[in-house]
Structures are given as C-alpha cells and as structure tokens.
Amino acid sequence: MNQILSNLELLKIAPLINLELLVNGLLVGSIFALIAYGMALVWGVMDIINVAQGAFVILGGYAAFYFINFASNLFPAASPIIWVILSIPIAAAAVALFSYLVFASVISRILNRDLFVSLLATFGIELVLQQLMNQVFTAEDRIIDSGLATISMFQYQVNIPGSRLLGAGLGIATAIVIVLIMRYSRFGQAIRATSQNARAAGIMGIDTNKIYALTFALNGAICGVAGSIVAFVFIIHPFQGVIYTLRSFAIVILAGLGNIAAVILAGLGLAIYENFAGFIFGPQLQNAFVFLIVPVVLLIRMYIMRRQRKYLE
C-alpha cells in the first residue's frame, strides 16, 4: 500500500515520468493493436476466435530471428537494421503459409461449428505450436538487436528505446497497408462482403471458402509482421504467446469487431493503462490488470444490456 502511494507521489513530483509511460504505452500499444486487428478480422469474417494468435506471433519472431542470424552470418558487414527490415516480409510469408496449412487441416473443418469449438481447437493448436517451438527452438530467450540506441530527453527523464520507435512505425505502416487493402482492393471488398453475409457473397460469385482461407492466411501474415517486431522490441520465447493472445482478446472485447479505428484506440489505450498500472501497482501485477479488464468490461457491458432487457451474446 505504501509502495503504491509513493509511486503515485512520484508521478506527481516527476511529471515527466507520465510522459515516458504515455509514449512507451503508445509505441507498445500500436504493436498490440496490430495483433488484435488480425484476431478481430478472423473473428468477424469467419466467426473463429483464434487462441493460437500469440503462438503465431512467436512463430513469426523465430522466423525473423533465424533469418537475421543466417543473413548476418552470410554478410557480416551489412548493418543489422537492413536485416531487421527485411525479416518482416520473410516472417509474414512464413507465418501466412503456416496459417494456411492450419486452415486447410483444421479450421476449414470447424467453420460452421459452435464458437466454443473454435476456442478449443485453436487452444489445442496453440499448445501444439508452443510445445513444438519449445522442442525445436529450445526455451532460451531470443532477442534481436536492432542496433538502435535509446533516445533520451529531458536529462534522461524520458527514455524511449529506438527499437520501440521503429517497431511502432512498422506496425503502423502495416496497419495502413491492410486498411487500404480492405477498403479498396477486390480482395478486401470480398472479405467485407463475406463477413457481412456469406450466403449473399456466394451468390455474387465470391468463393467464400477461398476468402476464409485467405483471411486466415492474411491474419498469419499480420502475426508474422508483429512477431518480427516483437523479436527486436521485446523477446521471443516459446511460451510467451499467451500474453499476446490475451491482450488481443482484451482489445477486441473493448473495441468490438470490424472497426479498425476502435481496435487501434483500444490497443493504444490498453497499453497506456497497463503501463500506468504496472508503474503504480508494481510490474508483477501488470498482467493481472490486463487480464482482469476482460471480465470487468464484459460485466459492465452486460449490466447495461440487461437494463435494456438484452443479453450479451
């Protein structure tokens, strides 16, 4: 309790800490938002909740890690930042391919089943994938050094790691590309139509099964991008995926489906909230604050809807 009060006091006497927490929250939040957007996409279009989302992200991280290791051994003279940037499309392609295989083998068979089935099946995939990664890549923490320095301002009161800045930038760039695809491409048009009314989309000549497969693969690509960002901003570890899955859950629940602006806002908001909560209540409680937000938000929403005699379904 005293610790909490003194932390609050600290925020008051050193207001620049607020700024640091805020900026870091925004940067980290844009990465979370990207991952959550992929989850919302799959959820909205095909009514599948992908619990394996976090494991896909980690897989992307490993793809990036091994690519960078390989490439920088081959050309030791090149600056690491080149490989970091190049690793992004590589990881995206790798995870997209993997996602497609998951779709073809499992997801395509549960498309018309209960949502609970998708929760369980993708939970199973998450377990398989994290254990496989544990076996194949070992449980050692993997980090990519982007070679970027930490930017310090206000006499070292506000510190922003350069890698976070880069990660956020790349995350935002990816999000913009995806928004443009969804808005203006034929593929995006077909995805939107399928998510709004799959039967009608079929009548318009859209092959909805193909759209589901591509949507799932697109989400894989998003996870791949996010994974390679995570690899140089945070760390990669086989069992770290759960963190990203649960954050995506929280963000999608906060934002609802299908609205990318809301997803981004919720992603940024969640990261800022958890940064402050972690600072005030201690880092060991940070995750608890994130995960508790799901039941709390749903409860509040449920109370509101019950008042209107509706159900949260």
């Binding site: 254990q131 949260l312 379904e313």
Partner: protein
Amino acid sequence: MRTWQTNIATLVILVFFLVAPFLFPNNMSQLSDLMIFILIALAWDMLGGQMGYNSFGNVLFFGIGMYIVASSEVILGGFKLAEYTSAMGGNQGSFILTPSQYLIGFGVGIALASIINFFLGLLIGSQFLQMRGHYFAITTLAIGVAAAEVARSIPIIGAGSGMNFPQPPDGVPLFHILYYMGLALVVLFFIFLSWLYKTRFGFIMNAIRDDEDKAESMGLPTASIKSTAWAISAFVFAYAGALYGSAKNFIDPSEVAFPFTTIGVWMILMAIMGGMGTIWGPIIGAIVFQIFKELFWTYLFGWQRVALGLLIVIIVVFFPDGIMGAFNNWKKRRNLQNTAKAKT
C-alpha cells in the same frame, strides 16, 4: 435406461477402484490423479454438457481450494503463514508437523476449501452466468488466467515463487489418503448427479442448454439454477484442487493452482472425449485420457505435450460426440436393425 447390466458394470468398476491401490501399488500418484480427473470432468460437464455453459475458468476454484488447504495445514500446525512462506527458501526443516497436526490441517482445510468455494461460486456465478455463449467462455478464460497473475503477486501465499505444502510426516500414507478421499467423492458425486439429472433441477439445466430464452419465458428459475449448479461444481473443483495440490506437494500459481493450459483444457477434453452431457461420458473420458497421458509421457517423452495438444485438436474436430456418442449411435443403429428384422 438403467438396466441390470449397467448396475453390474457399475459395481464391478467400483470394486475395481476399491482394490486398485493393492493391484497397482507403484502407481498411486497416477491413480489419485485419475480420481481428481474424474471429479473435474464430471463437475465441468455438469455445466458444459448438461447446462450448455462452457467454462474455461473452473481452475479458479481449483487453485483457491489448493491454497486454502496448504494454508490450513500451516496454520493448524501452529505456524504463521507469512513466516512459513517467506522462509520457504530452503529451511523447510524448521516447519515439521506431527501426523495428527497434518491430518487435522488437511481435513479442516479440504472442508473449508469446498465450502468457501461453494459460496464463492454462488457469488461469482450469480453475476457471470448472466452472460451467454462465447462471452461466458472468454470471460471465464480470462478469469482463470488473471487468477494466476493475482496469486503471483500475493506475498503471503508465496507470490510468484509458489508455496510448498508442509512435508507429510512419516507414517502418513499420503497417496492412499488422497486416492480414497477422491474415490469417496467420486462415488458420492456420481450418485448425486444420477439423482440430480432426473429431477426437475436437472431438466431445467437441460432446458437452459437447449433454449435458455424459452426456459426463462416459461418462468423457470434459470438464474438460481445456474448459480447453484455452478456453486456445486465449484465445491467439487475446490475439493479436487485440494487433493491435486497435496499430491504435487507444491503450488506454482500458473502450473499447479490455476493451470489453464493443462487442467483447464483437460477437464473439457475429458468430458468431450467421453461424451458431453452424459453421466458416464466424463468418467470414461477421464480414464481414457489418463491412459493416453501416461502413454504419451512414457513413450513420447519430450514430445508428450505436443501429442496431447494434437489429441485435443483431433478430438474436438473429428470426434465431438465422444465415446458415449459413438456408443449411443451404435446402439441406435442396432435397435433399428433389430426392429427391421422383427418386422420381416
């Protein structure tokens, strides 16, 4: 439905379980795990299979029950909980319990754990069970995960480094006690559920599963039935958690107490494997699952969890009706053939 064949089968299984410790004296830990699995599979299915409320969060009660038993043993052993947990670095030697202290602590603890969680279940259930469908599932998943994180930050129960159980004193046949206590509740719970599923309460649970809006509009007391069922299952989960923790002798917040990636999924898998919404399904599922698990651990060591994950995917995707479902289909087909034969 209940014929003399099933009665005899039940009796045979019961006798087998009664003498199993003498048949497999070297597998006591697997046997007591099996009792725990049967308990949680039955308790999960009570909500998921019979009432249509698929929950990932029952590990909440499982873990709280576990912490309560461990704390009760420490406190009734005459120690201060805070001192005990902060000293657990290595000098367990100074916290020695006599057999009677240990047993009293355990007995009182497991009773407390079950009762407290019953009421906790009532309280939580009355709120969260107002959610429907997948929101309920997601919420309970988040609660299970959050519980582990919260436990991780509470120093008096060992925070992130977990909590040891007091060492069972020499002469206490711990696994036999755990096994028979598990078996006792399995028998009682089985009898209870067989009765419950035939009562109005049971029918309302099924009505909620099949069409909750309709059940509600018919004026059935859905809200209180839901919370009561959830509370009963919380009781059983806490009891099972108390046994499980005692067997492992150590509580890690996310691996043992609130293990949403193991027990939290296994409970569902066992029910599905055996056949959701049947009384024998979860029992058969738990037995088959335990056999699979032991086989994986023996023959696929290192890859056992990969195999288990694959098992989940395969069961959920390809065999959602489970063993009882397959059995019932077979029986139906046989009956059809018989009637067809009788006609000609």
